[in-house]
Amino acid sequence: MSTVQIRDARKFYGAHPVLHGVDIDIADGEFVILVGPSGCGKSTLLRMVAGLESITGGTISIDGRVVNGLEPKDRDIAMVFQNYALYPQMTVAQNMGFALELAGTAKDEIKRKVDYAAGILGLEPLLQRKPAQLSGGQRQRVAMGRAIVRDPKVFLFDEPLSNLDAKLRVKMRAEIKALHQRLKTTIVYVTHDQIEAMTMADKIVVMQGGQIEQIGTPLDLYDHPKNMFVAGFLGSPAMNFLEGVVVGHEDSACLDLGDAGRVPLAGRVRQAAGKRVIVGIRPEAIAIADTGGIPAEVLVVEPTGSETHLAVRLGGQEIVVVLRSRVSLAAGERVCLSLETASFHVFDSDTGERLQDG
């Protein structure tokens, strides 16, 4: 059992608030990712769990025990830092065994645990090397090994993949996920990369401005974002937002996009006619229509091989379309688009909050 409970956690730097009362429940063995833009307070929250930052208000409990006043070493956690933080003068084996050495563990026991962790991470041939003799990916693995050796209740990861190149990042992403499936230890992971969050997490916590915007499973957040921030933050390319006015009622309701014409909103919104709303449409929910559809002008064509990204101008607004098929289009051409009405997300244009049910 290793749960983490965060209750009304607040953090002030002097008079400047960084976290405005955050509540998160993390179940045993859960892989939770805190995601959000720079300065949203996610790293601060993680460091508060680790004991590296003081807690101004609220409580943080690990396994039912409030840890607010405990030193980092007494919280039974292990942390992997963005810049690895390996001890430069020690070998890989010494780095991994340092915590056990300080705890007074017997030498053969340290060796056994270091060898076990090295085995999991494929570090056996590197055990006698110094950090300077390792590549970025290897250093990252040593940092994880240092965490595994301690067999903690909770692993904390602070943007561990940010310093790796794109290809290595994908590889390490899979390794961390495989590691979690193998060890089944509770993980709290901080990243600003929504793809990392979507691909690895059991549960995502989206944060902005020191507050939680939404908590849920990756697909739940993707399909049912609570507001425009969450909708725009998750997904790549990002969700398109079209501003328009609701016309008609209930089943006959339409969204008037101005020059671009009208799109049916049948059953999607229960707003009075005349209300200004913003409709969010995922790039993959738009297709090129064979007949009919809304006319648009192609601005940029970006083929990625597996799919094609189109930037188009629809009415006065620019949106992105992702097509699974290959198309022969050029900038300046006109196309007709069909929008998948069922996957519309309707938001209040004033508050940015989601409007429709479901």
Binding site: A50, G51, L52, E71, P72, K73, I77, A78, M79, F81, Q82, N83, Y84, A85, L86, Y87, P88, Q89, F98, A99, L102, A103, K130, P131, A132, Q133, L134, G136, R139, R146, R150, N163
Partner: protein
């Protein structure tokens, strides 16, 4: 346009152009090195000449008949048995102790948050701004009132007091540059501040500690004014004070004087040669991505 394989080959064999800026830099460097080494050559050559030879030959002429007796003569006349021993005792205690105290103070000032930290740092920095010459008279009164004149502590303690602020200043700014994640990782691993200091910071700081050790050794070994005031008994004199024995009003023995200078300078040169290998950059490379 096409290029034949032969022409490509010719191009590859062409000598790179001589970089005249580089040549000029090397020439300047050699000249400066020559200027710096000249006094040393002068001292070594003179230390092996008799007084007559000093007067009759050029300063930079090598000794024709090396007079090694100058060294044994200087050793006796300067009472090097006593002064060398005193200098070794004072330097061997002061330098490592001062560095250790400075490093601990610098660690606390750089890495431990406590109220009044900035004020404390300022107070210590203030110590670097007062020239010790101004303090000589009050220093004498103070040491005298503690009955420490002509004792090792009587000179080691003031040396520490005047040496530490400068070292703290250098070390704390170096420690500040060490990524905070290193000490945070160690804290999570269960290390106390002292363990972090000893096991993480000291090894990482070897180059700067070596540099400070060399500088401090040389300045302590050669210190004259404070020793002159605080050590009045000839049996407590240090090497630089011993050298003054060669400066009689009517007697000048340049051979012996220079032999004494060589013997005084030699330990500092040896310490430099031993520790200069720690002047390697990038000792922290690999600790964090950078």
């Amino acid at each position: 346009m096409t290029m034949t394989s032969a022409s490509i080959h010719d191009n590859a064999l062409e000598k790179p152009k001589r970089d005249w800026v580089l040549v000029a830099l090397w020439a300047t460097l050699a000249l400066i090195a020559l200027i710096w080494v000249a006094p040393f050559v002068f001292i070594v050559f003179t230390s092996l000449k008799s007084n007559a030879a000093v007067m009759s030959s050029s300063a930079f002429a090598p000794p024709v008949d090396p007079k090694f007796a100058n060294y044994s003569g200087a050793w006796d006349r300067g009472r090097f048995n006593t002064t060398f021993f005193n200098s070794v005792i004072i330097t061997a205690i002061k330098v490592p102790l001062g560095l250790f105290i400075s490093a601990m103070a610098a660690y606390a000032l750089a890495k431990i948050t406590f109220t009044g930290r900035k004020m404390l740092l300022l107070a210590i920095l203030f110590g670097t701004m007062i020239p010790f010459q101004v303090m000589l008279a009050p220093l004498f009164t103070l040491v005298n009132s503690l009955h420490l004149i002509d004792t090792y502590p009587g000179v080691i303690l003031p040396y520490l007091a005047f040496g530490i602020p400068y070292q703290v200043f250098i070390l704390q700014s170096f420690f500040r540059g060490i990524p905070k994640e290193l000490s945070e990782a160690a804290r999570i691993d269960g290390a106390s501040h002292f363990v972090i200091f000893r096991r993480i910071f000291l090894p990482v700081s070897l180059p700067v500690l070596a540099a400070l050790l060399i500088l401090d050794f040389v300045s302590t070994w050669n210190e004259f004014a404070m020793a002159l005031v605080l050590l009045q008994d000839r049996d407590m004199w240090t090497l630089p004070l011993g050298l003054s024995a060669f400066q009689g009003q009517f007697s000048r023995d340049y051979g012996q004087l220079n032999a004494a200078i060589v013997m005084t300078v030699l330990p500092a040169a040896i310490v430099y040669l031993i520790f200069q290998r720690y002047f390697v950059s990038g000792l922290t490379s690999g600790a964090v991505k950078g």
